[in-house]
């Protein structure tokens, strides 16, 4: 009988023993497999579409990239495009069947009854086979005010051929009619809206007349020599342009599409490998325990003449068998998951075609196998060191105490980590922060057993007063401190990352929002769409709205100010000057006067501008008012910076005394403290509705965008890291199953002397809870600690304690513990008390 046979039978005979390892490897490899399959599925769909959509293109002309142009370095489009006339010139080249120009720009699509505008790209199209779009229904736009829309966006917002909608571009909103629905290649959607417009709308939506064509695509007649035609095209295009073959263009577009998929794949893979590392801890734990339990079996093998090398091989072969089964299952599960996702999620259906590359599957299986076999290395070595004489001993595998050296090293590492973290935080030294975090994590692994043992001994008294079952549980945790710590470590890593990302990400979010809120003091702003400005009656009505505290009127721009400043200049025409009542600005917008006194005859200038221009209090500056009247004013006060008002403010009386009444173009509103924001806002909108051309703008819109973005990011990362926590759960389950197998006699004994099944279950549950709580608390403390230290440096101390998330994490720890104990506790309760005597 070969070693492989022995290994295979061992695994088959004790599936429960390998349960944790199997589950851990299956979950981690499933994750890896779905990451790779998703990447390949996206890349396949995207690249084949790029190729299909550009299938008829034989030659492409683009502006030459100037290697000295800094924008080229950032991969930005060349700022100047191709001359408008070049399309006809290329079309006239001998051998060219037809040519079209491409021009595009970002737009927003606003649909009635749909709250948020939809982001998209406007493309100028002409009816030509070269156009990458195909029509599903209707026709291509041929006149101004007509668009074709991709079918998916149309379906999502519920509009069809013949409907009207609004497209907002750099030139403002425009009413358009949908005349057709398009597809791109075989693909219906590209993740954003495709707004196809006619040549006549090119300037309005893409700035075509100003910027020229970004690319010209051409087809070559059959029978013509492509190389000859391309060189003729190059002659026409001149040195400012470069000419590509159709294949080059398709390769490049396919590469770009694959790049998008790759970037996503790399991110997912990073998490998948993290899951594998957590799994490795569990595998190591499993094999260490199994090897200890099988001392006598190994000793017998040794006594019968098996070499220590053969024993080592036997353990490794077991690891190989387990990991092979689990990795194959994981690879398959990943494919099934992605397949289901593509089937069930419509958005994904348009973007991905299920693609299973053998190489990706090989990567999954290899990763699973390598991680498992490497994790079993030390246990295998320990097994091989079993001495034959141990076969004769009737002793239970004794547990060696934690060595003093390990305890000291562990505690020293932890202490050093804390010191490095604190020093790095105070001294703002990133290297110390990183080093400190690493030291802490290594310290947890080395010093974990010492800490677990210490905690267990402290808990023994209090828990012992609760019940004997709890006391025995805590004593077992202490006895197996090493194993408990290793089990908990899987959880520590997962929880640490979740908490760190949540706390640090949350801190960055709150910091950003705080900064934004400081900059915008008002709650809501109203602006006038007409040159007459906001009517005085409207302003009076606005002040009367329930919940409105104060309204600041700003005559947005009443003139300009020329200042000589070092550094970058503001675009020509000088600084905008506004007219307002400064006390209103202070009250509503929180504009701060940092220096000097507000004087009705003087100017309030933003401090940063004054510094840059070398202007101080008491200096006289020259303003040119809107009607050309010059006005010299003294700078009497310097202010902080605000987004909402121009950097130079004159009092309204001075301006109006000089050039007569000026329209109030905008007003900022501040609500009463404690006012219901929704009610107040509804009131403001109701008043605005009564007056034509008055728009209400949320001052905090950008804040809500930032908040939404960060929250999405945090929950996405949290969900991905949650996989690590799930694997850790299997780790606890696994350790308990092993521990129960190891303690069969002990459990039987306790049952015979009167431990009830529910007491036994409680004992197992307490062990699981202690393990999961130790892991969760350690992970949470590390996560918050490191996040706090990092926040101190990066965000200058702005740190929101994530109490809420910490609470959830702790509850999670308890839930994980209870869940992990259900199956082992049931197994233990089913044990026959007679076991204690039978094996005796």
């Amino acid at each position: 009988m070969t070693l492989a046979t022995i290994a295979w039978r061992t695994v088959r005979a004790n599936p429960a023993r390998f349960l944790g390892t199997l589950l851990a490897v299956v979950v981690a490899t499933t994750f890896l497999s779905s990451a790779l399959v998703l990447r390949d599925s996206l890349a396949n769909a995207l690249t084949s579409n790029a190729v299909a959509a550009l299938g008829d293109v034989d030659v492409a002309v683009e502006p030459a990239v100037d290697p000295d142009d800094p924008s080229a370095e950032f991969g930005l489009e060349a700022s100047s495009g191709l001359d408008l006339g070049i399309v006809d010139e290329i079309a006239a080249v001998d051998g060219i069947s037809s040519a079209i120009g491409e021009s595009s720009s970002s737009v927003e699509l606003s649909v009635p009854d749909v709250d948020d505008p939809i982001g998209g790209t406007a493309w100028v199209v002409v009816d030509d086979p070269l156009t990458p779009w195909d029509l599903e229904s209707g026709r291509l736009p041929t006149a101004a005010g007509e668009i074709a829309l991709d079918v998916d966006t149309a379906a999502a917002v519920g509009i069809d051929v013949g409907d009207a909608t609004t497209v907002t571009s750099r030139t403002g909103p425009a009413e358009v009619t949908v005349v057709g629905l398009s597809t791109f290649g075989q693909q219906s959607a590209r993740g954003e809206a495709d707004v196809l417009v006619s040549r006549a709308d090119g300037q309005r939506f893409t700035g075509l007349e100003d910027r020229g064509w970004s690319t010209v695509l051409g087809g070559i007649e059959e029978g013509a020599d492509p190389a000859v035609v391309r060189s003729a095209v190059a002659d026409v295009a001149g040195p400012e342009a470069q000419v590509l073959s159709g294949d080059d263009l398709r390769d490049r577009e396919a590469g770009a599409a694959a790049g998008i998929a790759d970037a996503l794949g790399i991110g997912l893979q990073a998490f998948a490998y993290l899951a594998l590392v957590v799994g490795a801890l569990i595998i190591f734990n499993t094999f260490t325990t199994i090897v200890a339990q099988r001392t006598r079996e190994f000793a017998l093998l040794r006594a019968l003449g098996t070499s220590s090398r053969q024993v080592r091989r036997a353990v490794r072969v077991e690891a190989l068998v387990v990991s092979l089964v689990a990795s194959l299952a994981g690879a398959l599960l990943g494919v099934v998951l992605v397949g289901l996702a593509i089937l069930l999620i419509p958005a994904l259906a348009g973007l991905a075609t299920l693609t299973v590359r053998p190489l990706a599957m090989l990567q999954v299986v290899l990763s699973g196998v390598v991680v498992t076999v490497v994790s079993a290395f030390i246990p295998a070595w320990r097994a091989s060191r079993t001495r034959p004489v141990e076969a004769m001993r009737d002793a239970d595998p004794t547990i060696k105490p934690i060595s003093l050296g390990r305890s000291i090293t562990g505690v020293a590492l932890l202490a050093l980590g804390v010191v490095a973290l604190v020093a790095g935080s105070i001294g703002s030294i990133a290297l110390l922060l990183g080093g400190g975090a690493t030291l802490l994590l290594v310290g947890v692994i080395v010093g974990g057993p010492t800490v677990v043992s210490w905690v267990a001994r402290r808990l023994r008294g209090p828990l012992g007063r609760l019940s004997a079952a709890d006391e025995i549980a805590v004593a077992e945790v202490d006895r197996n401190a090493r194993r408990t710590a290793a089990t908990a470590n899987a959880l520590v890593i997962g929880v640490f990352l979740v908490v760190f990302v949540t706390a640090a990400g949350g801190a960055i979010r709150d910091f950003a929002i705080g900064q934004l809120e400081q900059l915008s003091g008002a709650d809501v702003s109203v602006s006038s769409g007409s040159e007459q400005g906001l009517p005085p009656e409207f302003l009076a009505d606005l002040r009367a709205v329930d919940g409105v505290d104060e309204v600041a009127e700003v005559n947005t721009i009443v003139g300009s100010l020329e200042l000589e400043m070092g550094g970058p200049q503001f675009g020509g025409g000088g600084l905008p000057v506004a007219a307002a009542d400064v006390s209103q600005l202070t009250d509503v917008l929180g504009l701060e006067v940092t220096q000097g006194e507000v004087d009705p005859d003087g100017m309030v200038l933003a401090g940063e501008i004054a510094t840059a221009a070398g202007v101080g209090i008491g200096d006289e500056v020259a303003v040119v008012l809107v009607d050309g009247t010059p006005l010299d004013v003294e700078v009497t006060a310097l202010s902080g910076f605000s987004f909402e008002i121009p950097p130079a403010v004159l009092s309204r009386t001075v301006v109006e005394d000089t050039i007569g009444p000026q329209p109030v173009l905008s007003a900022s509103v501040r609500y009463d403290d404690g006012a219901n924001i929704e009610t107040a806002r509804t009131g403001v909108e109701a008043v605005a509705d009564d007056y034509a051309g008055v728009d209400v703008i949320d001052a905090n819109q950008i804040v809500s965008v930032v908040r939404t973005f960060f929250n999405f990011l945090l929950s996405a990362v949290g969900a991905l890291l949650g996989v690590a926590v799930v694997i850790a759960l299997f780790g606890i389950l696994n350790t308990l199953v092993l521990a129960i197998a190891e303690r069969t006699r002990e459990l039987g004994l306790m049952r015979s002397v009167g431990m009830t099944r529910s007491q036994l279950r409680r004992m197992i549950r307490t062990e699981a809870l202690l393990t999961s709580i130790v892991g969760t608390v350690t992970g949470a403390v590390l996560g918050v600690g490191v996040a706090f230290a990092v926040a101190r440096v990066v965000l200058e101390g702005a740190f929101t304690w994530p109490w809420w998330q910490l609470g959830v994490t702790l509850v999670l720890g308890v839930v994980v513990g209870v869940l992990a104990s259900v199956y082992p506790a049931r197994r233990a309760a089913r044990l026959d008390p007679l076991e204690a005597i039978r094996t005796g």
């Binding site: 025995i472 306790m750 002397v753 009167g754 009830t756 008390p833």
Partner: protein
């Protein structure tokens, strides 16, 4: 005394710590079925040290496990005091073991993570009651373990471990102490101390003890020996000595 005289439980049940009627235990089914205990009726008197003897495979351990409620008989009834335990649910049975029975096994008697003293009071702790401190002190005194009581089992000798086990069995003042080869793993000096300890519990404290053994010397400490062979009671001996037990074993082995 006649070798065929077999003890029948007295109709007056108060005198028995445990009784079994028509007890049969069959392991397995069909061709592989093995009758470990074959229609045994036996009573264990209160305040008496009873030894159950027999060769390996005679069913003596199975009989004891059935009486202890650790194993379920195939047919027949078992009483502890006047409580019938056959048919009891696991929870009630566990409580009964905890409160009314004491156990001494051949080996692995103690929970490794608890000290000797903690092991001693474990049944009371499991019951959630305060152990009777005076009784604990008295037992500790009799055990003669002194400062060794705060050590873990792994730090105690085999004899010391067994003494703690006997102490634990006596701790709840059970109706019956069941001992399964309590000296099986011990040297002769330790064996002597354990056996002295068990017979003292009977003679001084009026404790009822039933012990399974195959050692004639250990059986000689009992006041009554019941012999088993092939699952059936085949003889009985009162006030045995090592020699009389050996003689009877020879007779039974020959017959």
């Amino acid at each position: 005394m006649s070798q065929t005289e077999i003890a029948q439980p007295d109709p007056e049940t108060a005198g028995y710590a445990a009784r079994a009627y028509d007890l049969t235990k069959v392991y397995g089914t069909g061709d592989s079925a093995v009758t470990a205990v074959d229609d045994v009726t036996i009573g264990l008197e209160r305040g008496v040290f009873t030894a159950i003897m027999g060769p390996s495979g005679s069913g003596k351990s199975t009989l004891m496990h059935c009486i202890a409620g650790l194993d379920t008989p195939t047919t027949g009834r078992v009483f502890i005091g006047d409580v019938e335990i056959t048919g009891l649910a696991d929870k009630a049975l566990t409580r009964l073991r905890r409160d009314r029975l004491g156990f001494v096994f051949q080996a692995f008697n103690l929970v490794p993570v608890l000290t000797a003293r903690e092991n001693l009071v474990l049944p009371a702790r499991l019951a959630g009651t305060e152990p009777d401190q005076a009784w604990v002190d008295e037992l500790v005194d009799v055990l003669g373990m002194g400062d060794r009581l705060d050590h873990r089992p792994t730090e105690l000798s085999g004899g010391q471990q067994q003494r703690v086990a006997v102490g634990r069995a006596l701790m709840t003042r059970p109706d019956l102490v069941l001992a399964d080869e309590p000296t099986g793993n011990l040297d002769s000096a330790s064996s002597e101390s354990i056996m002295g300890f068990l017979s003292d519990a009977v003679s001084r404290l009026g404790q009822s003890v039933a012990m399974v053994t195959h050692d004639p010397w250990a059986a000689s400490y009992a006041s009554r020996v019941v012999f088993l062979r092939d699952g059936a009671v085949v003889g009985e001996l009162a006030d045995p000595t090592t020699e009389t037990v050996l003689d009877r074993m020879k007779q039974l082995g020959a017959g």
